[in-house]
């Protein structure tokens, strides 16, 4: 019905391999993009600063983690450390007078170098042991960040981040920051969308399915693992920098601790492994749902005259967060992206359901 494919005839390979071949999807993308562009003028400033902006930045980070976890199939339980390295490197560079664009790129490159260190674990082991070794590396990185004064400025110190600057112009307005963040997320999204059309993307998928088998058909699995770790670390590093410049405005070691790594993993899993639209859903779900549900519970308790302690209210969001992961895994292990895919598949041929293979 909505996703009508009648009348689409591909006369060239280019049109067949376009990103969006179904007109409805093309127009939906255009509409969404137009809405994203006018959003700062339509939505309240509270919604932009406290919901939309963090959501976009986290989505970029989740897409980066999805590259390594969903596409290359390599576990990464230390992604927050990578983001933290990128954030610290770019903040230090910007504070020392490096132009902002270069500082952020430097942050990404630093994160890439650290990401390659993580990748050396992938040379040796995979599966559970890779997960555990990257988790251990996260702890080592946490320790390094907080105990090396040259990075964090001393134990439990906070580093102020200078404002964003593009071509020398400081960007301090809400809308301006929003557009920078939006541009970065769209860039990462385009990269991920295009990945499935490239040799790199296909090689990564081959490595994910079975690295020995990939090696047999001539895909150098270790080289591609390394590339995947470095590329996803670059995205993570820049996203970490964006998080600090565009949302926190200051950087402390706790912002990139191990629980953040787990939160990112939860976003990927809830959104769906390897799913791009799922990354958007997953980030929104994990970021916004617990707080909203908590507000709802507090409101209900007030309505019913129940007395829930302050301490209990502080822990209920975590409970909901844990329950969300469990429930999504039980109902649809491939995440919200798969749910969207199911709806799309149904509507593709509706009302002729029997056409579906």
């Amino acid at each position: 019905m909505l996703y009508r494919r009648a009348g689409i005839f591909h006369t060239s390979y280019a049109s067949d391999r376009a990103l969006f071949t179904i007109p409805f999807e093309k127009w939906a993308m255009v509409a969404l993009l137009a809405f994203a562009l006018v959003a700062p003028f339509v939505l309240s400033s509270l919604a932009i600063t406290s919901y939309v902006r963090p959501w976009l930045i986290w989505t970029a980070a989740v897409l980066g983690l999805n590259l390594i976890l969903g596409w290359a199939g390599q576990f990464h339980f230390g992604y927050a450390a990578i983001m933290g390295m990128g954030a610290y490197a770019s903040v230090h560079a910007a504070r020392n007078g490096v132009p902002w664009e270069i500082a952020v790129t430097l942050g990404g490159l630093t994160a890439s170098v650290i990401g390659v260190v993580f990748a050396f674990a992938a040379l040796r082991v995979k599966g559970l042991y890779l997960a555990l070794s990257t988790l251990a590396m996260q702890f080592v990185m946490d320790w390094v960040i907080s105990h090396v004064p040259a990075i964090s400025g001393g134990v439990s110190a906070t580093l102020q981040a200078p404002p964003m600057k593009l071509l020398g112009h400081a960007i301090t307005s809400e809308a301006g920051t929003y557009y920078v963040v939006l541009a970065w997320t769209l860039l990462v999204m385009l990269f991920m969308l295009n990945l499935r059309r490239t040799a790199l993307g296909r090689a990564l998928v081959a490595v994910r399915e079975k690295d020995f088998a990939a090696a047999v058909i001539g895909v150098q699995s270790f080289y591609y693992k390394l590339v995947a770790f470095a590329a996803s670390a670059f995205i993570g590093g820049v996203s970490g920098a964006m998080l600090v410049f565009g949302f926190y405005h200051a950087v402390t070691p706790e912002q990139f601790a191990v629980n953040v790594s787990i939160e990112l993993l939860a976003m990927v899993i809830v959104g769906g492994l390897g799913s791009i639209i799922g990354s958007f859903f997953g980030a929104a779900f994990i970021l916004l749902l617990p707080g909203q549900m908590n507000a709802l519970i507090a409101w209900l308790a007030k309505l019913l005259g129940l007395d829930i302690g302050v301490e209990a209210l502080a822990h209920i969001p975590h409970m909901i967060y844990g329950a969300t992961i469990i429930i999504v895994l039980l109902i649809e292990p491939m995440g919200l992206g798969k749910l969207y895919g199911n709806v799309r598949n149904y509507l593709l041929v509706w009302p002729f359901g029997y056409v579906r293979k």
Binding site: A213, G322, I325
Partner: protein, 295 residues
């Protein structure tokens, strides 16, 4: 003097390490039977300690009644977790299983905090605070008791694995398809291993609760438990006990000498380094089974 200091660090560390082994034993029990790396073991440990306190506070019963009651409760909790959450994920990619156990970890921790609150509480087992003298060495009495309990548990498990039900568990650990085909109820065996592991977690929670206080930090024993489990080999109970003692000695001695130099926090660093080095050098651990992969 210096040698005495070293010995004291090493022996106390080894005893504490045997208590880590208790957490690791829970992980090993589950991994052996169902190849599920249980990252919720820390949360189970913490929940166990809180349930014991809950029974002793709510019913006003003495500790020696509250602990068995809590163990029975935790036995049921273990069965429920396996039945509700893990059974449906059997055969799924390991990332989903890992994420499920992490989700359970977050959920259990937050639920415990919601019910009992975050402030630390003492666990009074009646172990005197005064140190035990071994020659001129000072030993922490709580560690001695904990290490003894670990060894008792280990021997109990060794005997249990010779019983009929234990043989069933060993068969499942060896090859679950084969056990299926000879009529063993694999599901029931796996559920039993979860239940046993939750009971072991309760014991660990009680003993660690008496060493420190009962609060959220009990769930951080997970990192130490999983390190011990990997170092000993994920499917070897004896390996877990030996690796626990090793890690405890290493951690205590290293932090005793390095903490003044590096400004604290080296405990976690040593544990993480041991985990990384084990995986890099000998992924299957000291006594684990070396898995061969088929293409």
């Amino acid at each position: 003097m210096d040698r005495m200091y070293f010995l004291e660090l090493a022996i106390n560390g080894g005893l504490a390490g045997l208590m880590y082994a208790m957490v690791a034993m829970g992980i090993v029990l589950i991994y052996k039977s169902s190849s599920v790396p249980n990252l919720a073991q820390g949360a189970l440990t913490m929940l166990g300690a809180y349930v014991v306190l809950g029974f002793s506070d709510a019913l006003g019963v003495p500790m020696w009644v509250a602990i068995p009651l809590a163990m029975v409760t935790m036995f049921c909790v273990g069965v429920v977790i396996e039945r509700v959450a893990l059974r449906r994920l059997a055969g799924r990619p390991i990332v989903m299983i890992l994420m499920m156990t992490l989700g359970i970890d977050i959920f259990l921790r937050a639920t415990t905090m919601t019910i009992w609150g975050g402030s630390g509480r003492p666990m009074r087992l009646g172990i005197p605070d005064s140190p035990l003298f071994l020659g001129s060495l000072l030993l922490n009495r709580a560690y001695v008791v904990g290490a003894a309990v670990t060894l008792v548990l280990f021997v109990t498990f060794m005997l249990f694995f010779r019983s009929r039900q234990g043989v069933v568990l060993r068969a499942i650990a060896d090859d679950y398809t084969a056990s299926w085909s000879v009529g063993i109820s694999v599901e029931r065996g796996v559920a039993l291993s979860w239940a046993l592991s939750a009971v072991v977690a309760t014991a660990a929670g009680v003993l660690w609760g008496s060493v420190q206080t009962v609060d959220q930090s009990l769930s951080l024993l997970l990192l130490k438990g999983i390190t011990v489990a990997v170092l000993g080999g994920m499917d070897s109970l004896g390996g877990a006990v030996l690796a626990g003692a090793l890690l405890g000695i290493l951690e205590n001695v290293a932090s005793g000498y390095l903490d003044p130099l590096l400004g604290g926090g080296t405990r976690e660093l040593v544990v993480a380094a041991v985990l990384i080095l084990t995986i890099m050098i000998r992924p299957h651990g000291l006594f684990g089974r070396h898995d061969i992969e088929r293409i």
